[in-house]
Symmetry: C2
Subunit: 456 residues, 2 copies
Amino acid sequence: MIDQETAGRLDGYIEENLERYLDELRQLCAQPSVSAQNLGIQETAGLVSLMLAQRGFDVRTIPLTGGYPVVYAETPGQISRTMIFYNHYDVQPPEPLELWETPPFEPNIRDGKMYARGVSDDKGHIVSRLAAIDAVRAVTGRLPCRIKFLIEGEEEIGSPRLEKFVEENRGLLAADACVWESGGVDPAGRPQFYLGMRGICYLQLRVKTATKDAHSGLGGSIFPNAAWRLTWALASLKGPDETIKVAGFYDDVLPPSERDRQLLADLPSYEESYRQIYGLKGFLKGLTGVDLRQEAVFQPTCTIAGVTTGYQGPGGKTVLPAEASAKVDFRLVPNQDPFDIAEKAGRHLNSEGFDDVEVEVLAQEHPARVDPDHPFVKLAIDTARLVYGAEPVVEPMVGGSGPMYPFVEYLKVPIITPGVGYFGSLAHAPNENMQISEFLRGTKLMARILAEYSIS
Amino acid sequence: MIDQETAGRLDGYIEENLERYLDELRQLCAQPSVSAQNLGIQETAGLVSLMLAQRGFDVRTIPLTGGYPVVYAETPGQISRTMIFYNHYDVQPPEPLELWETPPFEPNIRDGKMYARGVSDDKGHIVSRLAAIDAVRAVTGRLPCRIKFLIEGEEEIGSPRLEKFVEENRGLLAADACVWESGGVDPAGRPQFYLGMRGICYLQLRVKTATKDAHSGLGGSIFPNAAWRLTWALASLKGPDETIKVAGFYDDVLPPSERDRQLLADLPSYEESYRQIYGLKGFLKGLTGVDLRQEAVFQPTCTIAGVTTGYQGPGGKTVLPAEASAKVDFRLVPNQDPFDIAEKAGRHLNSEGFDDVEVEVLAQEHPARVDPDHPFVKLAIDTARLVYGAEPVVEPMVGGSGPMYPFVEYLKVPIITPGVGYFGSLAHAPNENMQISEFLRGTKLMARILAEYSIS
């Protein structure tokens, strides 16, 4: 444990330099970097490289064939344990623009929050990591360990090239510990850690039964109907009992361990807030409590995310649709494989007679888990308890997906998720914002973890 | 049979006065009357009333509570057999405007066709009927029979108040024979008659499972999904074998008679043109020939006309939809009842566990049949054979729907369908048009039928 005085000096440094970091963040957020729209990517990669270079990092901008470059940085000369930071410099599209109270790329501070697209996801985290490193260097006179940064530009489009990049560069990226791109506090202000993410296999199904729509009176009994073909194909994937009917879908599922169940039992309940926020009458299968929490993250899913076909306007139109398409989102749990699942889904449709349904893969990511009892994870949780003065919330797994897998699989690092986010960050939505008080707390935690890591 | 000379004078009158009728049609088409948009309805009802009054009809504009007025007209003083003409003065919306070569409400003649919204459906038919009556009166010095007109303003929105109007006014509307609103020639130029229309029960299904969409990673395994509920509800209505699974759906179906089969066998085959126009590989159940023709019109249907839910744009969005809706179009054959079918569909959904699916009725019309061997029908077909010099095409039933039922049920009239339309009329589509040569032939046929009817 570092002494109280050092801890106080770290906090003091961060508080005293807050304005400088907010300026740096403002500058970074004023630069659009929308990967989905190829907007400002190179400029932002350059800006992030500069911020790292100014701090003495060796920085390389590594192009990815067919994609946006990775900014890679490392501290020169040190031989010691290594901590790698994973972040991303791209942001979600800002649309719908009319819902923003101030323009998305004109950072604005009001009511103790900075508003801008990307201010929480993930630019606030980048600046917070740098501020924490600055603090440790300023207070202790040196860096606590060798530090690497991997900052990608494709996270918001599903990190399609990251897994291969990490696999091929595992020597370059080798590390002993990893700090994930984001984190924050729960609605009660408790620091949150998540130790796993579900994988994803996101498919688009398309049926075309004719070259143009027909009048439903003409073709209703004799023409094939794309809307029906798609409906039946979808219904073949999952029934009202929620069991996914793709052959072999559950083969590789690992059930949660006793330790996982224990962590789930320790979590606060969000049932009431979900009921209120989403206006739900109840949850699937009538589940509640630990069983509901387990179902939410350790059960794989098959979600229809969208369907479009035929006439969708007001009133009736007597049309027989020639084309129909659906988006289908499978969330995967350890040890399911998104490539295996895509193949099984395609085989299933064929074997059910839906060879007229074309399947396109839109995104694939593996699930990943972090050992909740790894000393580095324990160090982060214990430090968070001190910094926040509250019992950390430790989620063995979250329902969402992210590119954790290559870090776990190829770098074999434990991963922690401290951060500056909060329940109202509105990441991906209009009026994305960051609470400045959470920026301070998240940065203090990061600095303290760095300092503790050097002596642990 | 009228003599050759009278026939020749009728034709001559129509040819000589063609320009005058085209002027009258131009004036009528220049007046928008879009029932779906409440555009120009009263003005058009007034214009049509004036055209009838100028010809000596007693005209009344009869308001329909909550709807658009019916223009009713009859010849005064005559006591004889009565022929009633059913037409409509409303038209389909002209959108999309950018696909029109000339503006939809600025009638334009080119290449022997008049282009305008409503020129074929149904304003050309109204003017053609009037021209035929004028010709008979001019050539024979009198009207051949008592004539009534029922011209409604809601046909293009499904004639929601017509059935009740006819039922309640069966004394006023009493007649011995009926001329339907439209007709024309088939692609080979043969006059077409259709002696029945399927009914319709058009439903909208809606599911709402939450007050807002959720992230699919968050809710995928625990939140109800409106898209799935709707998919399963739809799949419960009909399976890939095309059998409709609503309990009692087929109870009242009357199979076609031997006479119907014989009429179907006499029809030309449109299989190849459907294959080409719609790019079809084949027809449902592998049917061809008479079996296909029978299936097309004597089989009731359940058609998904549209589905909308969740994200429908390019790429993937990880959303769990809170709302989903579908349009479902049932075509009904004699003696199915659209009110009974709506009730059975609702009961079916409830009994299958889909009480979260809200059902709204968007349109209901009964199926109707005309006796192919009625003397009036025979007179029309025989006259058409003479006027067109070609064997008429007689369809015992068409797949589409229209308000024939109240005429058959309450007025108990035989119905014929001579007309000025053709395969390329583009009714309901941009660049709706009428071939002037078909206007001439259709009007000559109508005049000749009137003249024959007076002596038959």
